[in-house]
């Protein structure tokens, strides 16, 4: 895994990434989110705790996700987060925006071809 190049989270996309992960996984705790992102990116996207947890707190303060303490299958205490209705709305809005932007950038980058 050392061979894989690390990528940084693109400015402003962290919230969307976290929300999308929660939509995919269903209610899950911070470690699961980090693990999932690492897995999906084949190890190139690794969030440290100082980035991930403040983001979760921010999303919770904005009412997009809600956290509560649960006991995991491996009988550990963990704080599990689930998307709220507002979170789902926000995600779909952000996804639309992102897709529009991505296609524009796509066109732009391959403009001549």
């Amino acid at each position: 895994m050392a061979g894989k190049p690390r990528v940084d989270v693109l400015q402003g996309t962290l919230d969307m990434i976290v929300l999308q992960t929660l939509l995919t996984l269903g209610p899950s705790h911070g470690y699961a989110i980090a693990a999932r992102l690492e897995q999906v990116s084949h190890g190139s996207l690794r969030l440290n705790m100082g980035t991930l947890y403040p983001a979760l707190m921010r999303l919770e303060q904005r009412g997009l996700i809600r956290g509560k303490w649960v006991v995991t299958e491996s009988s550990r205490n963990a704080r599990s987060y689930r998307l709220t209705a507002a979170g789902k709305r926000q995600l779909s809005a952000e996804r639309d925006g992102w897709e529009r932007m991505a296609s524009i950038i796509h066109l732009l980058l391959r403009g001549e071809g």
Binding site: G30, Y31, G50, T51, Y53, P54, L64
Partner: protein
């Protein structure tokens, strides 16, 4: 929207509304645990390969910092923490906190209350449109003695000015009077007002029905009309929808209602319940017609852009363009060429209370300054006491800015809490004020704590914060760690700079207290003078009653009423003397006459006299208690005698017949219009201060009712001396008048002493308030002195112990502390007295019979201050004297 939610959560977080540190740590811990589990699982479940613990700790700490920042608003977090810390400190030092807060609250409350009153009474515009252009206008004939203290414009000047006015666009007469109003068969006494039609319009009269007056209705001989106020229409006319055109009788004249005026119209003041057109008599050029001058109370409205000075100049030209006749001189006195004055209506209406209010405002400001100095001293003392604590906090890494901010937060908290407390007290005071204040205090019903006053209180809190927080903060920031931690703290704490600052504050408190004490002493002495002036009559045990006969009643009916009421009331139990007169003390009406009589020395020919002229029945002088100086009073035999007896007062003698024998002096045909009859002076009495104790004596003469054409007609003032409490015979006297003549309207029936009391209510109120202020100032200053000295003694135990060990006696230690406390007080006192000497002349207008440099007042204030200062010093001094040297030295 999302951001608002986030910030709301974060602000809550600053007040401990977010997740706890413990909760956050547990979540991060669980993350690390799961990460270890994963690592262990990957390594084959055999050996755990956890990341090095130092790395884990670093990651945890960094994540916690980031979470804490996200949880709340970092700077707000610090403020909340500072405030929490300050609150804990206050709770721990309850005595200190209570003293500081109460001091500040009292200071803020007194300032805010007095300034609420000043703002509402003196500064807020009158409730009239273009109020700043309204001016009170009157003329003065310099050197002449006017008939009364009312300020008038003559009708001649009025019409001359209105010929081509440039500086004014409205000029009108006005006045408030008591009338007898008869609707159907009921008649009541009530206040109504007169006003020129244009003036009523200019001051914003609005009708809810009907119309205002037309200009023609203010001409002589016009149809008699009246505007009723909404309250009168509701209460007396049963809200009659067809009131317009209805006729009501006012002072026995039928008048047609032409309009109903909206309830909020309060002109000239709130007493007026209906309005009549003010008729300004025109001056005829035909010598056979009316050529008499009359005096009018006048208000003008300045033309846009014109100044009061320009109006004065134009009015003066008008006043000098008309002839000055005998009747003009009767009103204005015989003086030089007339001068017209124009003064802002607001200033004019509040003139009686203005000087006293400004004195009180200055006094309240002094109290606030004392309070601030007190709080500064308390915080300063505490700052010194906490020097060690601050040094320790600095040593374990608190930045100087952080410490300074902590100290300022404490001061600010003090200021905010004190201000809130002060505003609560203000709110309550302003509510009870109208009940406490004298009855005729202008515009007091309009007082409420308004935004300007709130701003003022906030400003004073800022002053308090800066004054009391800055010094300890600066000192805290300059802490020398080594010295504070090492130098035994308390013994060397303070330092000469702080001591000097503290002495300065104490001195300032003493100076302000001295200033207030001198002011209060002056007011109190002035009030005592006012109540101890001999008014020329004895008000105690006298009942006065006013009866008014309809205008249509014949003169004989008045005489009949007087005779029968006097006879009946003299037989009432408890009444020892009774009389009646045209005038009586403390009622506003004044009758003047002028005589041309031979001078004391015949060679000098005739002299012209002007005097207040009473017509009274025998018994009046005894009932009211006139002071007979020579000769005799009137008796029953004087009525209808062939000669007209006259009593004069000492002022009349002093002014017109000095060094002459008065008793038995006779004058021929004093009244040219009367049938020929000689007048003989039978007695001399002391002057009566008819219009109040603060007035100067005027020449007065008395005639007997029923001699020649001298008689009481229409309005009768009964005066009865009683052997019992006069208010107990009120009902009996009312009954007697009512039974004697049922058409008579009974005016106020009240003890004369009540009238006297009302007449001095304003100075008494001002004095009470100022004395209370001075007492508060004295108390605050002594609390400050006590606090600082107690603290100083506790800090100097070691030094005092050494002194005691080296042989200082208890008396010497006592003396040491006493002189320290008193020397500061004496210095402040000296400054305060010098300041008083410079400032009290601004009080002159509010003083009576006492000069602004009154020696007694300037002597009394220092005595009070020194006695209280000694009392404040005594306990700390005794404490110092009782220091046990062995123990004091051991504790260090």
């Amino acid at each position: 929207m999302l951001l608002i939610r986030e910030w709301f959560s974060r602000i809550l977080g600053a007040f401990r509304g977010g997740r706890s540190d413990h909760d956050l740590e547990a979540e991060l811990g669980s993350h690390l645990e799961m990460s270890s589990d994963e690592a262990r699982r990957r390594a084959g479940g055999s050996e755990a390969v956890p990341p090095p613990s130092s790395m884990r700790a670093a990651g945890l700490a960094q994540a916690m910092d980031a979470l804490r920042d996200q949880r709340s608003v970092p700077w707000l977090d610090d403020v909340v923490q500072d405030v929490r810390y300050a609150c804990r400190g206050m709770v721990r030092n309850r005595g200190f906190a209570a003293t500081a807060l109460i001091t500040l609250a009292v200071g803020v409350a007194m300032t805010a209350t007095v300034f609420s009153v000043v703002d509402n009474v003196l500064l807020k515009p009158l409730p009239f449109p273009a109020a700043d252009r309204l001016v009170r206008v009157w003329e003065e004939h310099p050197g002449g003695t006017p008939i009364t203290n009312d300020r008038w414009l003559s009708n001649r000047t009025f019409w001359a000015w209105l010929d081509h006015p440039r500086t004014i666009d409205v000029l009108g007469g006005f006045g408030t009077y008591e009338y007898t109003v008869a609707i159907d068969d009921d008649s009541v006494r009530m206040f109504g007002a007169e006003g020129s039609p244009q003036l009523l319009g200019a001051v914003g009269a609005k009708v809810v029905a009907g119309r205002l007056f037309s200009d023609e209705e203010a001409e002589q001989g016009a149809d008699r009309v009246v505007l009723v106020g909404e309250s009168m229409w509701r209460d007396l006319l049963a809200s009659d929808p067809h009131v317009i055109g209805r006729s009501i009788r006012i002072d026995d004249e039928p008048r047609t209602v032409v309009g109903v005026v909206a309830a909020d119209f309060a002109f000239p003041d709130r007493r007026a319940r209906f309005w009549l057109p003010y008729v300004v008599p025109r001056v005829s050029t035909d010598p056979k017609l009316n050529q008499r001058t009359s005096g009018l109370s006048t208000i003008g409205r300045l033309a846009p852009g014109a100044t009061a000075a320009q109006a004065e100049a134009e009015g003066t030209v008008a006043a000098r363009s008309v002839p000055i006749t005998m009747s003009t001189e009767l009103f204005f006195g015989k003086g030089g060429p007339p001068v017209v004055h124009a003064v802002s209506l607001l200033a004019d209406q509040t003139a009686t209370v203005r000087p006293a209010l400004w004195v009180l405002a200055a006094a309240a400001s002094c109290i606030l300054l004392i309070a601030c100095a007190n709080v500064a001293n308390l915080l300063l003392s505490r700052g010194v006491a906490r020097q060690r604590e601050l040094a320790v906090r600095a040593a374990i890494g608190a930045g100087r800015r952080r410490l300074a901010r902590q100290l300022i937060t404490e001061a600010a908290l003090c200021a905010v809490l004190g201000t809130i407390g002060g505003l609560a007290i203000t709110w309550a005071l302003v509510r009870v004020l109208p009940a406490m204040a004298p009855a005729r205090f202008p515009r007091l019903e309009e007082v409420h704590v308004n935004l300007r006053v709130l701003a003022l209180a906030a400003a004073s809190a800022v002053v308090a914060t800066l004054a009391s927080g800055l010094v300890p903060a600066i000192r805290g920031a300059r802490l020398d760690l080594f010295e504070s931690l090492h130098g035994g703290g308390a013994a060397s704490a303070g330092g000469s700079r702080v001591n000097r600052y503290r002495d300065l504050l104490l001195g300032a408190e003493a100076a302000f207290a001295a200033l207030l004490l001198v002011g209060a002493a002056l007011f109190a002495r002035s009030l005592i003078r006012l109540t101890h002036v001999d008014p020329g009559y004895t008000a105690d045990q006298v009942l006065t009653a006013r009866a008014l006969l309809p205008r249509s009643a014949s003169p004989d009916r008045t005489s009949n009423l007087i005779d029968r009421v006097l006879t009946a009331s003299r037989s009432l139990p408890g009444i020892t003397a009774a009389g009646a007169g045209t005038m009586m003390p403390l009622l506003p009406n004044t009758a003047m006459t002028t005589f041309r009589i031979p001078a004391a020395v015949a060679a000098e020919g005739l002299i012209q006299t002007r005097q207040v002229t009473y017509i009274v029945t025998p018994g009046y002088a005894e009932a009211i208690g006139l002071r007979l100086q020579q000769g005799r009073l009137f008796n029953a035999g004087d009525v209808g005698a062939g000669i007209r007896p006259m009593i004069v007062n000492d002022e009349f003698v002093r002014r017109y017949f000095p060094q002459a024998t008065m008793i038995g002096r006779r004058f021929r045909n004093l009244y040219p219009s009367d049938p020929p009859m000689d007048t003989e002076i039978v007695g001399v009495v002391a002057a009566v201060l008819k219009d109040g104790n603060d007035r100067r004596p005027e020449p007065e003469v008395y005639f007997v009712h029923g001699t020649g054409n001298r008689r009481i007609v229409g309005t009768v003032n009964f005066v009865m001396r009683t052997s019992v409490d006069p208010s107990t015979v009120t009902a009996a006297v009312r009954g007697v008048i009512h039974e004697t003549d049922r058409t008579a309207t009974i005016g106020t029936v009240e003890p004369l002493a009540d009238k006297v009391s009302t007449s001095i209510a304003q100075p008494r109120f001002a004095t009470t308030v100022l004395v209370a202020f001075a007492g508060t100032a004295l108390l605050l200053a002594s609390i400050g002195l006590y606090g600082v000295l107690s603290y100083a003694v506790s800090q100097r135990r070691r030094e005092l112990g050494v002194r005691a060990a080296l042989g200082a006696s208890r008396v010497q230690l006592l003396y040491l502390i006493l002189t320290e406390g008193l020397s500061v007080t004496l210095m402040g006192l000296a400054v305060g007295l010098v300041a008083s000497a410079a400032l009290t002349r601004f009080m002159q207008a509010a003083l009576f019979g006492v000069g602004p440099l009154d020696a007694t007042s300037f002597a009394a204030a220092p005595v009070a201050l020194i006695v209280v200062a000694m009392a404040a010093c005594l306990r700390p001094a005794i404490h110092a004297a009782s220091v046990d040297p062995a123990q004091a030295l051991r504790t260090e």
